[in-house]
Amino acid sequence: MEFLLEINTEEIPPSHVKTALEQLREKFEAELTSSEIAVRELRTFGTCRRLVVVGDLAEGQRDREEVIVGPPKAVAFAPDGSPSKAAYGFAKAQAVEVERLEVIKTEKGEYLGLKKIKKGKPTQEILQKSIPQIILSLSFPKMMRWGEGAIRFSRPIRNILCLFGEKLLPFSVEGITSADSTTGHKLHFPQKIKTKSFREYREALREKKVVIEEEERRKMILAQMETKLAPLKEEVHPDLELVERLVYDLEYPYVFLGSFPEEYLRLPLEVLSTAMREGQKLFSVVRDRKQLPYFLGVADNYRDPKSLIQKGNERVLRARLVDAQFFWEQDLKFSFKQMAPGLRRIIFQEKLGSYEDKAQRLKKIVAYLCDKIEAGKIKKEAIQAAELCKVDLLTGMVREFPSLQGKIGGLYARDKGYPVIVSQAIYEHYQPIGLEDESPSSLAGAVLSMADKIDSIVGILGVGIQLTGSSDPFGLRRNALGICKIILDKKLCLSLSRFLDKALAIYGEKVEKPKEEIKCFCLDFFSSRLRYIYEKKGYRYDLINAALGAGIDNIYYSFLRVKALDALKTSAQFEPLILIAKRVNNILRDQPAYKINADLFLEKEERELFSTFSIIEDNVCPMISKGDFSQAQKFIFRIQSSLNNFFDRILVMAEEKRLRQNRLALLQAIKKLLFQIADYSQIVVEGEK
């Protein structure tokens, strides 16, 4: 039978709609499974004003045989086989004649008991109880109360439509009684619409300007955009994130094309598109990275016959552009040198000082990085960029559009004639903002971005600010992720540990916690960011563990390690190599370190292993230091036969102490070499299962 639930609300934020629909689906599935109601179909739909669940459910639970166990057989019958007092007592308690009882075999022995057919409950009865609980159990990132009620929800619930088998399913949730009607679009059809079935409901709503299917609304938006742009002969490159937001932000999409005076095209693309996106959620129309004097907007309506919506939006956008133009001109009246002293007034963090202090530190970190990654050529420009990169925090434009920080600084620097390397580094130094965002394209930008991020990480952790699951006010996780991403994208080789030392040393006394402690924490912190990145890239968890286990001091190498392991995993060598590594590991467990004495190798097999190992080591070490872990792995595999012979013929744990220790020392050397490639003991192979 058809089940239909619609929770009608005031406008729920788009992200809340998505989580609500997921939760509704999960909770209904769980409820129906646990109450053993057969489900043929269960679907959800949603807009900002309604959360909908539709299902095809059995009319009721299946009937079930229920067994009630009474007294043990031995107690239940008198010696003559007639029912005992205990048996009569049980029958009475169950309100049946004693004749209805029967002997039931259980694991614990035989008992007298009663078999009953338990009639399944009607689905309606079960839903009546569970729906209010499900609705009340939905959770949102931020919840609210309204009126006199005690319910907490994303936004006020105004109506609940619930039908089962074409009839009203009556229940109430904290004063809201379920109904067999809903309302249409809030402007076009706020009156009641009665309905009996999902089909009727969906069609009636469509007519009343509500499209409940998110996929349908998405299609409508994209198709209309294409139509509107067709006369301009433009290809549509809609900002998909914004489309996604809008899909859940309205009930009936209407796309309109608007324009603005060409004089504003003098403003940079970044400023124009931000002015459009933020607030009015408009799409900029772009050809070859050049802004055209047009925009697209999406209204919650089905038409705009008098172009009122378009004209209204044009007016609002023009006002924003007037502001932006004003800021652009005002800001450019001052040179960076004139503005820079203002950074003293902006606090980065109370204990860590102002943004001027930060800029001074960044100059030093940037200089260090340029030396380490052999980027001497851009050192001078990178340092200059470090000095200037935060100045845009003082501009009217960044105050108006905070998301443009960095970019604005870069644009102003370009306008003022600073070298391209400087302006580009400033422009890019917040990138990447997430894993999806791009790393800085320039090396100077990459260096400055890393410097800014490491400075924040060690500083904030250094004054004892704790990160919790939900709280990361300075975005340290994102910062660490950014550093890792830049290193991987740019294939940079540098020692993380010394990088941290340097950043900490530059802070000097300002950092209160012991530097070693901060460093240890940071190494762990980076390790978990890397794990996250590798998981996102789809590598197997045990390969990730093995690669990270070999150390993350060189972040780029840790990635080469995962890649090498991943490439090896399908080869025939994979399993034997890992088993060798594990065997070596096992034998060495709890052994102190010993030194090899080549003169003490007496047996042929150990002499052979030692010499094979020496050759392998000589060859493999340069590969490892070059980061060629694939080649190193292949080469190291040549130890297999000597090592197998060694294990077959030689008693490692010899009686003679010196011999024993020398053999252990050889194995330790092998282990050490293996460990420079990966911690193979972390890898799970078929052979072990």
């Binding site: 109360r145 309204w146 008098k306 023009r318 006002a319 007037v322």
Partner: protein, 282 residues
């Protein structure tokens, strides 16, 4: 429709909804929310319906009368209804229709925008209402004020009168708006904007304002001890306004900002607690 007719229309509409029509409060406030007709009345359990115009001062928004949209003083139309009625959104929509806006030809959106005023320990959940992309109203279900959970929950509807009027007249410049049939916004407000911008940004004596802040703070504290909560609250409003002027003079660093706001909030929180305790014992 002129601004004064807009006000007359809204007064009529909300009076018909059973609201008591209050008059503007006679102290500088940053928003209608801060006036006693809102702040105190949302704290207790009693039902409350009020509507009024409230001038709101935001010194940093001053532009010497040169920006067509930003002013250091603007007018809000403030509505508080406690508890929030279940059809309040439709009532609000009707209020727009009553102004002669044929909404079916427009795009009316409730865009997620939770509101917060750390100075008076208040926050709420709601939307900015956009009409063809123009923000005309802040629509909020008040959750806390003075650090106290509000129950029943009031709804606060704050119309930006100038914004709404710009929509109604289809004008791009605030100073071109008609206040009445023969008086322009410019005639009434331009000189005030110029002079106050100069005062707020350049002339206000930092020393005197800082002292005034401290004196008002002390006095508020003393009055709280004497259980004179309404006068104490007035002094908090003065503190808040002095704070805003210091801010526009660029005399407050980021850390000082947080500390000064916390100082005012501490006083306001005490006032709210004492006020509700008193209410409960009545």
């Amino acid at each position: 429709m002129s601004i004064q007719n807009l006000i007359i229309n809204l007064q009529k509409f909300w009076a018909d909804q059973g609201c008591y029509l209050a008059q503007p409060y006679d102290l500088e406030v940053g928003a209608g929310t801060m006036t006693p007709d809102t702040f105190f009345r949302v704290l207790d359990k009693r039902f409350w319906k009020v509507a009024y115009v409230q001038p709101a001062r935001r010194p940093t928004d001053g532009r010497y009368g040169e920006n067509p949209h930003r002013v250091q003083k603007h007018f809000q139309y403030q509505v508080i209804i406690k508890p929030s009625p279940s059809d309040i959104q439709q009532i609000y929509i009707k209020s727009l229709i009553s102004l002669g806006i044929s909404l079916e030809d427009h795009d009316l959106r409730f865009d997620e925008d939770d509101w917060e005023s750390p100075t008076i320990g208040a926050w709420g959940v709601g939307w900015q209402v956009l009409l063809d992309g123009l923000e005309i109203t802040q629509f909020t279900y008040f959750q806390q004020a003075g650090g106290i959970d509000l129950s029943p929950v009031p709804v606060e509807i704050t119309y930006g009168l100038e914004r709404l009027e710009m929509f109604l007249e289809g004008k791009d410049n605030i100073y071109d708006l008609d206040w009445s049939s023969d008086t322009l916004y410019r005639d009434l407000r331009l000189r005030e904007e110029k002079e106050f911008s100069e005062y707020n940004f350049n002339q206000a004596s930092i020393e005197i304002i800082q002292k005034s802040f401290i004196l008002s703070e002390k006095e508020a504290s003393r009055l709280i001890q004497r259980n004179l909560l309404l006068p104490a609250y007035d002094l908090c409003l003065k503190c808040s306004h002095y704070f805003n002027i210091l801010d526009s003079r660029g005399a407050i660093s980021v850390t000082e900002r947080v500390k000064m706001i916390a100082r005012i909030r501490a006083l306001v929180t005490q006032i709210a607690q004492k006020y509700t305790a008193k209410e409960a014992s009545l």
